[in-house]
Symmetry: C3
Subunit: 666 residues, 3 copies
C-alpha cells in the first residue's frame, strides 16, 4: 500500500487548530469541511501546553473529542507531535532550554520555537510527550499521518549556548577524530587559531571580525544535524509504537538552515510549506524550483504541500492577497510538480495571536466570502481527479543544488556579496522554466545517468568526489553546463589546489586565473546584450570559446570531454542570452520541452502512472491563452471529460488532460 492510498486520491485540507474557539464551533467546522471536500487536516501543532499542563500530567481529552469528530466525518488527521512550541512552564522550570543568539542574547518564551535544539532537557521532555501521544492515539481511526515538530529551524536555526557548544564539540570529535585533523581542515595556522584541544572550540559566536570560515561552515552542518536529531528522536518513537503510520514533517521552501537533502531519506513523505509572494510576478518560478527540489530529494516520489496560504500572509512588510484564481492556479502548480496533497495554513482564521491576519480557509468574515468559495471549489475539483494521486514526474534535465555550497557561498569575506545560492539557481532554472523544460533538482551526489543535460549553477563548494562524478558523467557522453565560481573550494572551504575550477579543470578544458567581481550596478556589454555581477579571467586549455566579451575574454566556452560536452559560463548574462545559451545546450543534448509551441506564460507538466499520461496546463498570465494539443486528450476538469484538440485557458486558468483517463479504463 502506498501512502497515497490512505486518502484514495489527492489530499486536501489544512491546519486545524480548533482550540482557539469555543467547542461549539467545531460542529460548523466539520460541516464546512465536508462541504469543501476536505479529507486531511493537521491537528495539534500547538497542543503541548494543553495536553501537558504540568510536567508529566497528560490530558488528551480535548484532542480525543476532536479526533473522534473528525473520524466520524471521514477526515483523516495528520497528527502533530506537538513539540514545536514548548509550554510556558517548561521555560520557567528550565530556562537553560532557551536558545542563545550569536551575540549572547537569550531568546525569551512568548512566541514559539524557544528551545535550543541540543538541549537534553527539551529533547527528553519532547520524547516523553511523543511516547505518551503515540501510545494514546495508536489505532485511532482518524490517525493517518504523523506530523513531527513544525517548520524545523524556522526561527531558531542555530543556538550558541553552552549546551550547544558542548554538542558542537562532540560533533567535531566525531567528524575529525583528533584535533590536528581539525586544525588542518580549518587552516587554523592562519590568524593563530591552532587548537590544542577540542575543549577550546566554541560555536562561531560574535567575534571581533570574521570567524574562521570552516568553523562557520561546520557549525551550519552541526546545527542542521542538531535539528535533525530532534526529529529523529521523535520519529524513532513513532515508528516503534505505530509502525504503519507514515511520518513526515513540513519543510520550508528555500530554507537555508535545513538541508532537505540530508533529511529526506528519513521521511516517509516529503512535506513542504510554500508561501510565494503574490506581489512578485516570478514567485511561481521560485516555487517551482522548491517543488522540483522536494520531489528530487525523495527519489521523485509524490510529496505533500503541507502549508500554503488561501490568500495573504501576515509576516511580510506588505501582505498581498491572492487575486481571484491565483490560489487555485498555484495549488494545481504544486500538483504539476508532483504533489499529491494540497493543504493550507489554516482552516479557520485566528481571532487573536500572532497569525490572526494570515488568511484562512474560513476567513474572519465567514464562509460567505470569495476566499472560502474558491477553497471549496478547489476541493471539489481535486476530488474529481483521484487518479492523479501516486502518478510521477520524469524529466531529462537536472539542475544541481547543494546546501553545503549554499552555506559556504554566503559566508563572509567572499569576492562579492552579490552571489546568493537561490538567486543564482533561479538564474538557471528560470530560463529553463520559460523554455518549457521540465527539470529535476538534485544534490551533486545524485545519479545523473538518466539525464541528457545537467546544469550546475555556481556550485562554489564541490568536493573532489562530486567533481569526479560530474567529469565521469561528461566523459560517458553526458552534457554539462557549469556557471562561474563553481568548484572553488572543498568541503572545508579550502580552495582546490591550483585554484578554480580545481578537479573540473580537465572536463571544462580551462582554468580561472582571477575572479573579477563587478561593482554594484556595473554592466558589461556582451554579444547583443549585457552581463553583470561577475567576470573571470579564464585561460582556455582545450575548450572552444562560444561567446566572448568585446576584449576577447571568454564568456561561454564548450569543451568536448570523452563522449560528452562541458560548457562553462564565466559571467551572468542577461536573460535573453542565458536562454539562448541554455537552448543551445538543450539542443545539443537532445532534451525537449514538455510540449512544443506553448504560448508565453503557460506552463505544461506531465505526470504518468496507473497506465495513464496526464498533461497539466497552467496559465500564469492575466490574459487568455490557447494551447493546441499534439493529439486529442480528455479534459478532466470539464463536465464529461470530453476529448479536445485545443484548450483555451482563461487568465490564471488550469487544464488537466489525460491520454487515458481513469474514467475510461476503469
Amino acid at each position: 500500500m502506498s501512502f497515497t492510498d490512505r486518502l484514495g486520491g489527492l489530499g486536501f485540507g489544512g491546519d486545524y487548530n480548533p482550540e482557539q474557539w469555543p467547542d461549539e464551533v467545531r460542529a460548523e467546522d466539520v460541516r464546512l469541511m465536508t462541504e469543501a471536500g476536505v479529507n486531511l487536516v493537521t491537528v495539534g501543532v500547538f497542543g503541548w501546553a494543553r495536553v501537558e499542563p504540568a510536567p508529566d500530567k497528560y490530558d488528551f481529552s480535548y484532542f480525543d473529542a476532536v479526533m473522534d469528530e473528525l473520524a466520524a466525518a471521514g477526515v483523516t488527521v495528520d497528527l502533530a507531535t506537538m513539540t514545536a512550541s514548548p509550554p510556558p512552564w517548561l521555560a520557567t522550570e528550565h530556562p537553560e532550554i532557551l536558545p542563545v543568539t550569536q551575540s549572547g542574547t537569550v531568546l525569551a518564551p512568548g512566541g514559539r520555537q524557544h528551545y535550543c535544539p541540543s538541549s537534553p532537557v527539551y529533547r527528553d521532555r519532547a520524547a516523553k510527550l511523543v511516547e505518551a501521544l503515540a501510545t494514546h492515539y495508536q489505532g485511532h481511526p482518524a490517525l493517518g499521518f504523523w506530523h513531527v515538530g513544525n517548520e524545523y529551524g524556522c526561527h531558531v536555526a542555530e543556538c550558541f549556548c553552552e549546551e550547544s557548544a558542548r554538542d558542537f564539540r562532540r560533533w567535531l570529535r566525531r567528524r575529525y577524530g583528533d584535533v590536528e585533523a581539525l586544525n588542518a581542515a580549518w587552516c587554523t595556522d592562519f590568524w593563530s587559531q591552532r587548537y590544542t584541544s577540542f575543549d577550546q572550540i566554541l560555536p562561531p559566536r560574535l567575534a571581533p571580525t570574521y570567524a574562521n570560515p570552516a568553523q562557520q561552515l561546520d557549525f551550519k552542518s552541526f546545527s542542521n544535524e542538531a535539528l535533525r536529531a530532534c526529529f529523529e528522536i521523535e520519529a524513532a518513537i513513532l515508528r516503534r509504537v505505530t509502525p504503519d503510520v507514515p511520518v513526515l514533517t513540513n519543510f520550508l521552501a528555500h530554507h537555508k538552515p535545513v538541508d532537505l537533502h540530508s533529511w529526506a531519506d528519513r521521511m516517509d513523505i516529503v512535506g513542504l510549506d510554500s508561501y510565494p509572494d503574490p506581489f512578485c510576478p516570478r514567485s511561481h518560478v521560485a516555487a517551482g524550483l522548491a517543488y522540483d527540489l522536494a520531489r528530487g530529494a525523495h527519489g521523485g516520489d509524490p510529496w505533500y504541500l503541507v502549508e500554503q496560504a488561501p490568500s495573504a500572509v501576515n509576516w511580510r512588510r506588505r501582505n498581498g492577497v491572492k487575486e481571484p484564481g491565483l490560489m487555485r492556479l498555484w495549488s494545481w502548480q504544486a500538483i504539476a510538480h508532483g504533489a499529491d496533497a494540497v493543504l493550507f495554513f489554516q482552516w479557520r482564521q485566528s481571532r487573536g495571536g500572532a497569525e490572526k491576519f494570515h488568511s484562512a480557509m474560513v476567513p474572519h468574515a465567514g464562509p460567505d466570502t470569495r476566499v472560502h468559495r474558491e477553497v471549496a471549489a478547489l476541493g471539489a475539483e481535486l476530488a474529481a481527479v483521484p487518479e492523479l494521486a501516486g502518478t510521477r514526474v520524469a524529466n531529462d534535465v537536472a539542475v544541481l543544488f547543494d546546501w553545503n555550497s549554499w552555506w559556504a557561498l554566503e559566508l563572509d569575506s567572499r569576492p562579492s556579496d552579490g552571489l546568493k545560492a537561490v538567486d543564482r539557481a533561479l538564474d538557471h532554472y528560470g530560463p529553463l522554466f520559460d523554455l518549457g523544460v521540465g527539470v529535476d533538482v538534485l544534490p551533486p551526489g545524485a545519479d545523473l545517468t538518466p539525464y541528457r543535460l545537467v546544469v550546475v549553477p555556481n556550485l562554489y563548494l564541490l568536493t573532489d568526489e562530486h567533481a569526479h562524478g560530474l567529469a565521469g558523467y561528461v566523459s560517458a557522453g553526458g552534457h554539462l553546463l557549469v556557471s562561474f565560481f563553481t568548484s572553488v573550494v572543498d568541503g572545508n572551504d579550502r580552495v582546490h589546489p591550483g585554484g578554480c575550477p580545481g578537479p573540473l579543470r580537465e572536463a571544462l578544458g580551462l582554468r580561472v586565473e582571477e575572479f573579477r567581481p563587478a561593482a554594484e550596478g556595473e554592466v558589461f556589454l556582451l554579444g547583443d546584450g549585457t552581463a553583470d555581477l561577475w567576470r573571470e579571467d579564464v585561460r582556455v586549455e582545450g575548450a572552444d570559446v562560444l561567446l566572448a566579451f568585446p576584449d576577447g575574454t571568454p564568456a561561454v566556452t564548450r569543451n568536448r570531454f570523452g563522449t560528452g560536452t562541458a560548457r562553462y559560463v564565466t559571467t551572468r548574462p542577461d536573460e535573453k542570452i542565458m536562454r539562448a545559451v541554455l537552448a543551445e545546450a538543450l539542443a545539443e543534448a537532445g532534451a525537449e520541452p514538455v510540449l512544443r509551441g506553448l504560448p508565453d506564460g503557460v506552463q505544461a507538466a506531465a505526470r504518468t502512472g496507473g497506465g495513464a499520461e496526464f498533461l497539466l496546463l497552467l496559465n500564469h498570465t492575466d490574459e487568455a491563452r490557447t494551447v493546441d494539443l499534439p493529439h486529442p486528450l480528455h479534459h478532466l476538469l470539464a463536465p464529461g471529460r470530453p476529448e479536445v484538440e485545443q484548450v483555451t485557458l482563461h487568465p490564471r486558468d488550469v487544464a488537466v488532460l489525460a491520454r487515458h483517463s481513469r474514467s475510461e479504463v476503469s
Copy 2:
C-alpha cells in the same frame, strides 16, 4: 483663581539651568530676562546630583540663591522635582535601578533617564527628594508651578528587567484576576502559550519570533502606567505639602509610549514640548494636531508650551535653523491652538554636554544676535496681549485619536507595515487644517454631542463600548467619517466576531470581506486622481457608494443611520480627493471654517473669553498674504490697536485681532 492668573497674562520664558556657568553669569541672565519680558522659567530639571551629593544629604543652597534672585526680579519659577536624571552615586550603589532593553542590555548611566520606572529603589529615592524639596521651597515667593520629572519615557519607555517583570505580573493580576481570564484575553491557545500561573509570564523580551500581540499590547499599557506611577508618587507629595501650587509635567508631542489621555486628568495644566522640524514644510500641521490633542485631553483648557527651540535642535541628523520670523510664527501658532504660555529650551546655550548645539534664547554668540533679538521681540509682543490668557478655543469638528489603537496598530505581523497612527491621523487632520476648519482631537470615549462632524482615522482598536458610543452619536443625528481598518480588534487585539468593522457594521452599513494592502509604491486609479496604501473588499449592506474604483469596488460610502450619517473610506485617496471627501462631509454636517475665503497657507484661529473674541491669523507661507475681515476688528499687535477691515501679513507674519479688545473694555 485660575492657574493662568498667577502670571497675569501669557507665560514667556524657558528652562533655566544656571548651574552650567559661574555664579556671576546669573546677574546678566536676570537682567536679560527682564529686558526680554521673561516671566516664567523652569529651574532645576537636572539638579539632583547637586542638591543630593550623597544619599540623604541635601544641600539646597545653590538653588536658594537662584530662586531668591528670580523672585527679586519678579520671574515666576516652574520648579522641577529634579528626578528626571538620577545622580551617578545612585547607579553606583544600586545598579539594579538601571533599565534593561528588550534584548537584555543593561543601559548605563552617563546620559540621563537611566532608571527602571518600576524600580522601588528609584521610586523611594525620588519620593524622599521630592518631600525634601517641597518642604524646603513651600511658600517661596518664586515658586509658581511644580514641574514633575521631565519628558517621561523620552529615552526609556519600557524596561524588561526582573523588577519590571514582577511589576508587570502584579499589573496583570490586577487586570485579569485569574490566569484563565488572561489566557482567554491573550488567545494563548495559539502557539502553545497557555499559562498555568502568573509567575510564568515575562515582559515581551526578544523572542525567536513575534511575541504574543496581546502580551505586547498589555506591556505597552503597563509601561505607560509604570511611568505614570512615578509621576503620581511625586504629585501626591507635592499636593500634600504645597496644595496651592499647580502640578504639571512636560509631555512630548506625538510620543507613542505615554498615553496623554490617561495622564491628563492628573495634571493641573497640560504641558507640552514641541519641536517641529524647520526642514519639513508641513511640520506646523503635525504640531497643530499635537496642540489640539493637548487641549482636547484636558477638557479644552489652556495648556502650556513648556519647551520649544528658539532655532535649531541638536538631535536630528541635520538640524535646520528657524528662518527669521519662524520662531515667532510657531510660538503664536501654539497660542492659536489654545496655549497660555510659550517657553523654550533653554535660556542660555550650554557650553558643554550633549545639548550644547541646541539653540537657546541667549546663543553662544551672546545677546547681540538675530535669535536673541527675535526672542526679546516676542516677549514684548506677548506681554502686550495679556487678555488672551485664559480664553478658550471651541470647534465643532472632532478627530479621534487613541493610544491603545496606536500601540496595537503598529505591532508586528499586521497586513501592512505602512499604517502608522500619527501619519494616518495627519492624512485626515491635514486636509481639515487646509480647509481652515478648527478641530478638537479627542479620545474615542469623549462626549461627542457638541460636534457636528466626527472623523475617525483608522482606529484599528475600538472597544465595543466605544463603537456603540460612535453608533449612538450617529443614530442621534451626528455625522461620522471613518477610514479603513477601523474597529478591527477589541482591547486585547482580538478580531471582532464576524470581522471588520465589527460593532460598527450596522452604523456603517457594510462589512469588510478582506483587506487588500497595497505593495510598496503601488498606486490605484480613483476618480480623477489616485489612491494608495490600502484597499478593502467591502460588501455594502445598506450604505450608498459615493465613490468607487474603476472595477466598482467601493472607495467611499455613506450610510444613513438613525438621524445621522456614517461615511466610510476604504483606501487612502490622494490629498485632493481626501479634501473633497471631507468638504462634502463638512457641508452635510453644517460645519464651518473659522473664516471663509482665507488665502492659501494662512491659518485662522479663534479664542474667546472675558467678553472678547479673538481672531489669530498666521501666514505659514514665504509670501505676503492679504486677508479681508468679515467686519472691523482691533489689530492688537499694531500700535494703538486700530480697527481694520483688512490685514496684510508679511511672510511668516502674525496678526491678533479682537472684536472687543481689553483696552476698550477696561
Copy 3:
C-alpha cells in the same frame, strides 16, 4: 646608518606566512622571491599559537627554519612579535581577556584580535612572548626589523569591560587629578552627571541616550593610549634586547581609533597599510592624503608601505581587481609621497581561512598569472633605482589634520551628521592634488614656519594653544585658509567662550552668529556654481568678503592680520569654486605646483637627496599623456637612463626622472 641602508635600496616584498602550507612549498617560495626581487618580508604575524602551544612552552623550531632559509637567500625579515592574535588556549584559560562591546557583548575568539587592550593578563602574556622571541632571534642574520603587533585597533579599538573601566579611571585620575576638575571639564552639571568619586565613572557604555560628549571624547583618547601602551610594552623589551633593530608597526590608513600623531615618535619608521578601492576613481587621492600624513607625522622621514593588495581584497561588499598597471602605478605613488618600501599582503594566497580571497603575490592559480608577472616586473623596476631610498620630500603647503578633532567632530548630537573629518580634509586636499601642489599633512601643533600656505579643513576642536599658534603664524606673515566649523570647542568639547571661531576670531576678523546646516540634498547658489552641506551667519569684524551668497551672506572672507592673511570659507563650495579659492590663496602665498603645465590626471612629485633631484610622473588616467619637461632629465626606468625633454606616459604609466642620476655621479 639610516634604517634604509639596511636594504641598500627600496624595500620590496610582503607578508610571508608559510605555516599555511607544507614545508616543501618554502623552497619554491624562496626561489620565486629571488626571481621577483623580494628583499624584505614580514614573518610571524600569526605565529603565537604555533610558537607557544601551551603557557610558557615556547617552540621556535618552525620559524628558525624559515628565518634561516630567508637569511640564506638574502631576504631581510621584518619579524612580527606575534601578539596580534592570541592562541585559543589563552582565551580558554583567561576568558577575562576577551573584549566587550559598548552594549555588553563579550566578543568571542575564533577570528583574531580578541583581547582587551587594557587586560593585564594579555599584556603580561604578550610581554613574556616578546622577551622570549627577542632573546631567541637577537643577532639572527635575517632579522632586519621588528614588526610589533599588527594593525592595532583594526577590529577592537575600544573595550568596555570592567578591566577597561578600571584602566579608564586610572587614566582620568592622571589627567584630572581630582574629580572636581573632571566635573568642570565634562560639564557634568548638565543632565545631573556630577561625580563625587572617580569610582563612579564608567566607560561610555550604551546609555538611554547620548552619553556625555567629553566622556566619550576622553574615552577615545584613553582607548588610543591603551592600544599604544600595548605597543610600548613590547617596544621597550625589543629596544632593550636588540637595540640596533628598528621597531615599527603597521598603521591603517584613515583609521579613526589610532591617533598616528601620538604614536609616530615612538616608531623608528612609520609603517602604513593602504587599501584604496579600485572601484573608486578618486581613491588614489585619499591614499595620497594618508601618505602625506604618514610622512608628516615623522618629520618628513621616509616611511614604509607595509601592506597593500596585489589586486583585489576580500572584505568589501564587492572586491574589484586592480586592472593591469594599476598595482604598479599605486606602488610608485607611495614612493612619490616618500615611501622607501613597497610591501604586500601577502606572498602566497591562502588556501583557507578568512583571507583566502585576498589577492597575493603568488595567486591560487600560481606564478604563471598576470598578477604575479606584474609583481615580479615591479620588483625588478624598484631594484633599478636604489638611489631613491633615503631621499626626502619637501613642500611649502601644509594641511592640518587632528585626531582629537576627528573624534569630537563625529560624536553624536552635532548640528549636522554630514561633517566627516576625512571627507572634509579631502574636500581641501583633493583640489590641491588636482592643482599639482605638493602638500604636507601635519598636526595642529606642528612648526608651520616653513610653509607659505596652511590650510585648515574644519578643525572643529582647536585648543587655545593651537589657535594662538595659527594666529601667530599669520601675524608673522603666513597665509592661512580656514574652513567653517573650525575652532568651535576646546580639548574637552566645550564651546569656546563667545562661540565660534573663539580664539581665531581676531585673526579671521569675524565671528559666527549661528550655524546653518543644510538639509540633505539641499544646494545653495554661489557665484557661478553652488555650495552645499553648511552655511554660517557670519558677522565680519574687519575681514573682506571675497565671495558672497546671493543674499549677501559671506561665503569666503579674507582678513589681513599682522603681515599675513587669513581666509575663511563658510560653506562647502563645489569643486570648481573650491579650486579657484585655493588657487587664489596659493598665488597670494607664492606657493607653486611641483611642475607647471601638467596635463589633467598626471601627478608630479619631487624627492631630493644624495645630491640628486628626482621627479616622479604618474598617469592616473586610462589615456596616454605627454609631459614637457622644463629641462632635460634622465629617464631612470628607460634602458640606459637617457636624457629626455618630454615624456609620454601610457595609461597608468609611471616615469622616474632625475637631474643627476646616481649612474652619473657614482
